[in-house]
Amino acid sequence: MERHFHEELKGLKVKLLQMGIVVEEAIEKAVEALLERNEKLARDVIDEERIINQFEISVDDKGHGLLAIGQPMAVDLRFITAILKINNDLERMGDHAVNIAERALILMKEPPLKANLRLPEMAEASLKMLREALDSFINENVDLARNVLQRDDEVDAYNDKLYLQMEELIEEDPSLVKRGMNLVMIGHNLERIADLANNIAEDVIYMKEGKEVRHHADKD
């Protein structure tokens, strides 16, 4: 017999999935606004942040309600705490999307920088981590979650490379400092998105297996 409580948990999961889709779209749009120099798209991302914020409050509210009313134990408890943490992570990703959009707007007013920065590849790698982290949560797939954890280094490498490239460019031509700083910050935002996707994957593993993998706890 399916308990009413478990129906409610499924409802919470669906809500978080909807939020995940909105966040994913916000990041995609922010990156597209940057690459295509599309001002409207950048402004949409900034405007739509409130939708993500509303989702955050709604998921928190529903999650806290289920904790109080259902007083869940074991896997149900781990499920709700994972949802609350993922909720927080997604909201932070939304903030990073807005940061990227804001910096895209600044960069649009500047001439394009002629350099192979590999930002599209970096953005795609971060987004892929987010998509797979969310899929691992929805399908409770710990193999996929572990796959996400392994790919964090890839995004870190892109970010390190971007930082060094910008450092060299600014050294050669100090007039590039404004664009350079904004691009470094965009790289940082994409790297943070990948870190947060990593957090989601870690939470999925704890939720499903009860194993702590954060901060390499499993290897200690």
Partner: protein, 288 residues
């Protein structure tokens, strides 16, 4: 005072055959947590109990640490109450009961034929689901046990009554009505009176069979607070259907199902990351 000294005292007053004190053997290997033998107050080894032909407990092995609270959980008919009652041989009172295996308390098997069951039940006291004060005064209820054990001195009895009622967190509420009928007390007070009555004979182990299931939330909270205080001096084993209560009051939780011990371990672990799927299904209400 441990069971063996208590039993020796009984031997002095009533000639009995020498108590057979077995050495503690290691319990069978199991995936579940077991306290170290030297830290064990109660060590149950391959305990089976059947009523008539029906087997209620199947080869249960479990160690219980002193001065701790162990919660026994599981669906109705899982054997948890049978297990609890086996710890002071209350099952003996049910005709047709057959018990196999050992229950070692302070390394003495309480099922040895020469055990004095009256002395045992003094060391291992029991509190029931429904409070059952005698239709006597508060005072007479508390000192019932000590009187039965031959204490007649009024001063001594008053001292025991005050001490026991204080330990049961009831003294402040009844000190001015010690000679009023116990049945005039509220349900929660009556249950604490029953706990005081058990404490008055100076037990070491307290068995509690759903001690708060008939009480309102405030009285329940008082009983739970009391359990936390009592564990400083007593070893407590509690049967409860209330999972949150088990989580709140116990240090260790044992999950029983169909007469078997499925999993035993640290309470926090059992309620967050149990090892066994049956345990998880039960505590999250996914059973059946």
């Amino acid at each position: 005072m441990d069971v063996s000294t208590e039993l020796e005292k009984m031997e002095e007053s009533q000639p009995m055959e020498k108590t057979n004190v077995s050495r503690v053997k290691s319990p069978p290997e199991s995936e579940t947590h077991k306290p170290e033998p030297e830290k064990v107050k109660i060590l149950v080894e391959r305990l089976s109990v059947s009523y008539g032909g029906a087997q209620a407990l199947k080869e249960v092995s479990l160690g219980i640490e002193p001065r701790s609270v162990t919660a026994l959980i599981g669906p109705s008919g899982c054997g948890k109450s049978t297990f609890l009652r086996a710890l002071n041989r209350m099952n003996d009172t049910i005709p047709g009961t057959r018990t196999e295996g050992k229950v070692m308390i302070d390394r003495v098997n309480i099922y040895d034929p020469d055990i004095n069951v009256v002395a045992l039940r003094r060391v291992v006291g029991m509190v029931f689901q429904k409070s059952n004060p005698f239709p006597k005064s508060v005072f007479d209820n508390v000192v019932y046990g000590p009187r039965l054990h031959g204490i007649r001195d009024r001063m001594k009895l008053e001292e025991i009554a005050e001490e026991s009622l204080k330990r049961a967190a009831l003294w402040n509420e009844v000190k001015d009505r010690l000679h009023k009928p116990a049945l005039e007390l509220s349900g929660g007070q009556q249950q604490r009176l029953c706990i005081a009555r058990v404490l008055a004979v100076n037990p070491e182990i307290l068995l509690m069979d759903e001690p708060a299931s008939a009480l309102d939330p405030i009285s329940t909270a008082k009983i739970e607070e009391l359990i936390q205080d009592l564990k400083k001096n007593y070893t407590i084993v509690i049967v409860t259907h209330n999972m949150q209560q088990a989580a709140r009051v116990s240090d260790c939780t044992a999950f029983f199902y169909l007469g078997s011990l499925v999993e035993q371990g640290d309470t926090k672990k059992i309620f967050t990351v149990p090892d066994r799927k049956e345990t998880e299904d039960y505590i999250t209400g996914r059973f059946g």
